[in-house]
Amino acid sequence: MVDRLPSFRNGVHPPENKDLTSGIASRRLPFPDEIILPLSQHIGRPAQALVKQGDRVERGDVIAEASGYVSSFVHASAAGTVKSIEHWPHPSGAMQPSVRIEVDPHSTQLQRPRLVPHWDEVPAEQLSEEISKAGIVGLGGAAFPSHVKLRPPEDQPVDVLMVNGCECEPYLTSDHRVMLEQPEYVYQGIRIVLRALGINRAVIGIEANKPDAIEVMRENTPDDLDIRVQPLEVKYPQGAEKMLIKAVTGREVPSGKLPSSIGALVQNVATTASVAMVFETGQPLIERIMTVSGRGIKNPGNWVVPFGTRLSDVIAACGGFTEDAAEIVFGGPMMGQSQASLDVPVLKATGGILVLSKDECKRQDILPCIRCGKCLDACPVFLNPQLMGALARVDRFEEMVETNLNDCMLCGSCSFVCPSNIPLSQLFAMSKIQLRRLSAA
């Protein structure tokens, strides 16, 4: 290794398992007979439903509006009739208010024409408003409403846009497919986001395990913009905002601060492509490319899935479970969430559905901590998970604030490496909840 690729310090190398799906072009999933659209598919306040039982909706119609600044719009992802608005199993594990739409089997499922101003002819502020109305949220996993990010604090001007094509979670290949299949949308989206921010510099960070994506993105780079494609070392969690910024600029986002505090803003490649979709075709965020993978599913692949499609419909379209299917996860294997019900709908932030076989998700017994220090060498934000884990196990949550629990992003690297199989990141997730409870009381 003569020329080391830029990266961050620490981190882990879980088996990538991306070749299960990385070479499979995305196909459209058949429209299901019913879709379920939770009003909460994003960080922030749930959307407010605008439809009622019996209403006819066309594909792309607004069915719920943002209920505050940090909130998002929800659109019908298929034409049909509103069956009910009720509590329904949500991938978060709770029951959430959701709009159930019985899909019209005779509809052509063409999107209702929607007027969107030309992106180059409206004031920059209006761009973020259109992005909000289209229900765009970050598709990298956090589902933070994108229009909020596009208006950084006045005193923290952004001077560089970082486009996140790392996709560091094992198995997932949806961002990879976006870059291969829709490079012109990605670049058009970057153009629009740059205009909304009033800047002209962008860096696209891609992990080096996607040489074809790096090549395609380089070939399509427009000449009139200052855009650089930056290959990055393959290491988890390279796609975390702070890690990406560190790798590209060499700078650390100060603890507790936003990336804009050092003039950076991060957008996922799939998000920028969906922004372009809004202004090119008028289509709001109603579907996305999603990876369905793991050795517990018969036909892994990449699919264009309308939001609200039930997990059971996705599984059926992929040939069903294999004999030794053991666990279903929404998201990647490092940070994704286990699912208990096949009724849960896929959401805007669902970049992947994994069905892991018994062998893939096997765990050994938990043994005592032997203070090997591997968790300290893994932690990308340089915490001491050994000490934090010991505190969490005896309920000393307040003291964990002093050990910087708030800086932990629950990436799971410490749990991954722990030879004693101590569920460190689970302990930290629990500690964060307990602390919130304590401070609320």
Partner: protein, 343 residues
């Protein structure tokens, strides 16, 4: 469709991350045992059946104590008691009475580990604590080094002595260790370095062959089962400090002699690197290693004992909590923690 009808039989619900590395504590422990096999076999080659008996006695003491008092039912399977037994056996002389070796094992596991709460809780290296106990209780027996004999089958001392009987030391033909020879001998001789390196000298069972310990240690370091910062910092600091004192004419030991003699190799690669009793961060490991190196040199040159590795490591073991506190990592995007706030 009713939500309750489609609960799936794929029932595993766990918290993230859903995949784990193949590394396991049990695997680390047994690979340490595996890496000690060449040293163990060499000790039997050099010292005959006595070596095997002493090692077996100390292993038996450790395993029995762990089985009887270990807090977890499966605590024997994790291999940690086996390591303690092997290491303790390897730092005893070949002619050592077996009951003493057995007692050392009981003390090492019982008072070195179980009383602290078992695996992961102890402050001191259990094997060294066991040896420190034997050194205090049986100072004569533990420093009675057998001379090399032509007859491989011959016992190298009074292995079968019983408690409370005066040892029949007269039977044993004793020789001195290279360190003792040079320090306390009437006619100081320096043992050739090659002999030290290969291990054809007197001394404790596993202390003699530097080359085999190095091989085992390298194997563990490559597999990531020991932190190479610790042995490297110890060996470098021993070399540097002893070189300094040798150059100033304060010490009879050349730095190379220092490196290869006594228990330094075994201590640096196997005792000091015990994960439970060494610091968490690499920075901490350097503080720890340099501390051990300095203490070894001081004890060897000016102490009342020919060898100082054991006490050097035990003393630094005691400081590990403080080293850990002083070498906390600096959080990402933050300032280094203010050291004044600690405590």
């Amino acid at each position: 469709m009713n939500a309750k009808e489609t609960r799936h039989e794929v029932v595993k619900i766990t918290a993230a991350p859903h995949v784990r590395s193949d590394e396991s504590t049990t695997r680390i422990m047994w690979s340490v045992v595996l890496s000690l096999l060449p040293v163990t076999i060499a000790s039997v080659w050099f010292f005959g059946p006595s070596a095997l008996l002493v090692i077996l006695a100390s292993v038996a003491g450790c395993l029995l104590t762990e089985r009887l008092f270990g807090s977890r039912r499966s605590s024997l399977a994790d291999g940690s008691a086996m390591i303690t037994g092997l290491l303790l056996g390897l730092c005893l002389p070949a002619g050592f009475p077996l009951w003493m070796a057995f007692l050392g094992g009981i003390f090492g596991i019982g008072f070195g580990k179980i009383v602290f709460g078992g695996l992961g809780q102890n402050v001191f290296n259990p094997a060294l604590l066991g040896r420190a106990f034997l050194q205090a209780a049986f100072p004569v027996a533990i420093t009675t080094w057998p001379a090399r004999t032509a007859d491989w089958w011959a016992l190298r001392g009074d292995n079968f002595a019983l408690p409370f009987m005066s040892p029949s030391a007269a039977d044993a033909v004793t020789g001195a260790t290279p360190l003792g020879n040079l320090k306390f001998g009437d006619d100081p001789v320096t043992t050739p370095l090659l002999e030290l390196f290969l291990g054809t000298t007197g001394g404790s069972l596993g202390e003699t062959s530097a080359v085999l310990i190095l091989l085992g240690g390298l194997y563990l370091a490559i597999r990531g089962h020991l932190n190479w910062h610790i042995p490297v910092s110890i060996l470098l600091s021993v070399f540097a400090f002893s070189g300094l004192f040798y150059a100033l004419g304060l010490s009879p030991f050349s730095p190379w002699f220092m490196l290869l003699s006594g228990g330094l190799m075994l201590g640096a690669w196997y005792m000091a690197t015990d994960m439970v009793t060494s610091p968490l961060t690499n920075r901490g490991c350097w503080v720890f290693g340099v501390g051990i190196g300095l203490l070894v040199v001081i004890i060897r040159i000016w102490g009342g004992l020919p060898e100082g590795v054991m006490y050097a490591i035990l003393l630094m073991n005691a400081l590990v909590p403080f080293i850990n506190r002083a070498t906390q990592p600096r959080k990402f995007g933050g300032k280094p923690p203010a050291t004044g706030e600690a405590s």
